[in-house]
Amino acid sequence: MKGTWIFNNAPLITAGGAVGGKDEKNGPLAAYFDSFFADDVTQANSYEEAEGFFLSRAAQIALNKASLSSGDIDLFIAGDLMNQITSATYTAAYLNAPYLGIFSACATVCEALAMGGLAVASGKCQKVLVGSVSHNKSAERQFRYPNEYGSQKPPTCQKTATAAGALLLADKGQGIMLESVTVGRVVDYGINDPLNMGAAMAPAAADTICKHFSQTKTSPADYDLILSGDLGKMGRELLFDLLSSQGYGPDKQRLKDCGLLLYGEQKDAFCGGSGAGCIASVLAGYLCNLLQNRVVTRILVAATGALLSPNWVKQGNTIPCISHAVSLRVGDNNA
């Protein structure tokens, strides 16, 4: 099976912007965010519009850090969880740049990196901005219940992050190398509980990570960190067992989950954070920081997405899941 692209002339991540809401500000990764919105609506007329504000600000921060304006961008690739990806579209209108809208649910940012990497590596584009966003309140409305509804959530459920992340890919300059990408396939192990997404998505993550190791001829020991997108507590345990059974069992300390990192032990996060903005903000803020400061030199990020719609689940269907992985590295040759 195919799916891994190794870039000989690796595109570089030269800047990132991470924006969060107030729960992210109280989380353990707060120091790595660039900016926070004080409340959920942020002067917007709706949660959906606010979500657009989040991604726009993250995109603007990434551009500012690279001293670029939106006119310098060859391509903007983004997505979110809303129907018809309205938040990404809002940001594309704000940037007024050539735009490709994509959807891989919570794995969107890695799909965007894959496509952006391809665009840069092909030589057709010099600067590509990628990003994704999610908003807890708009996601609750669309996928679950109204926000103030007093239903009891089970302990397996996860908390959609109110956050956005944007990353700037460039063909030259200083930055983190996007050395390879593994595009996942849809994996469905018959889970139909939308309040247990970690368990539904873990097999997809395992599938993509194992494929990445075998096609790039690497092993878990070659990476300082292996990160899943938003599998949560239970999903991370499942992923560890699945990888071990395939002979790719990593050092458990090095297997992290962005959803768990984002909220730490915050009780109302249940099994951990989730959402397209969760991994995007953790990647653009925390992980880019670790790489830039050489705390780690090579990481594998496997974003996980549950490709469901509310009606699809109500109809009793199982949840199709996907995971896309990107391998990021800092090395001497691009210092």
Binding site: R141, N147, E148, G150, Q152, A199, P203
Partner: protein, 152 residues
């Protein structure tokens, strides 16, 4: 091959299952539900004893009070946190019904008064009303037949 993998995975899921805190949930539901009913009964008794109200009038006003308080607590943004702890304890009494309407009305405000608030209010509550009407109809038929046959 695929199904064997899936079967193996299901057992793996059992191994890492995050257990629902059933005892805690049941106790909380009992305490909150019981507490709400006891409080309602207390207010009912006050109206009857000191207000001189008839039983059916007092029952009506108690319902209105529970609905009003639920609406206020929902609007202030505390009800969802209470509901997470209390579960069925607050969902089964009329507080659950009131919350289901108010939360939808608040959430859908951004879509306007007609297409949002007015349409959305019954998004969750509609099911309660439909099943209430259907079961009332069925019970009514049974009652009517019982009367005809002389055993009700």
């Amino acid at each position: 091959m695929q199904s064997q993998e899936v079967k193996g995975y299901k057992s793996l899921m059992k191994k890492h299952e995050v257990k629902k805190p059933l005892f805690k949930s049941f106790s909380a539901a009992f305490l909150f539900g019981g507490g709400l009913c006891a409080a309602a009964q207390f207010i009912f008794n006050l109206f009857v004893r000191y207000g001189g109200w008839q039983h059916d009038q007092a029952a009506g006003i108690v319902l209105v009070i529970v609905i009003a308080v639920t609406t206020l607590v929902t609007a202030l943004g505390y009800y969802d946190n209470l509901g997470q702890i209390a579960g069925a304890g607050l969902a089964v009494p009329i507080s659950g019904f009131a919350n289901s309407m108010v939360c939808a009305a608040i959430d859908d405000r951004s879509e306007g008064i007609v297409q949002g608030v007015a349409t959305g209010s019954f998004k969750l509550a509609g099911a309660v009303i439909v099943f209430g009407c259907v079961s009332a109809f069925i019970v009514g038929i049974i009652y009517w037949l019982g009367g005809l046959l002389g055993f009700l």
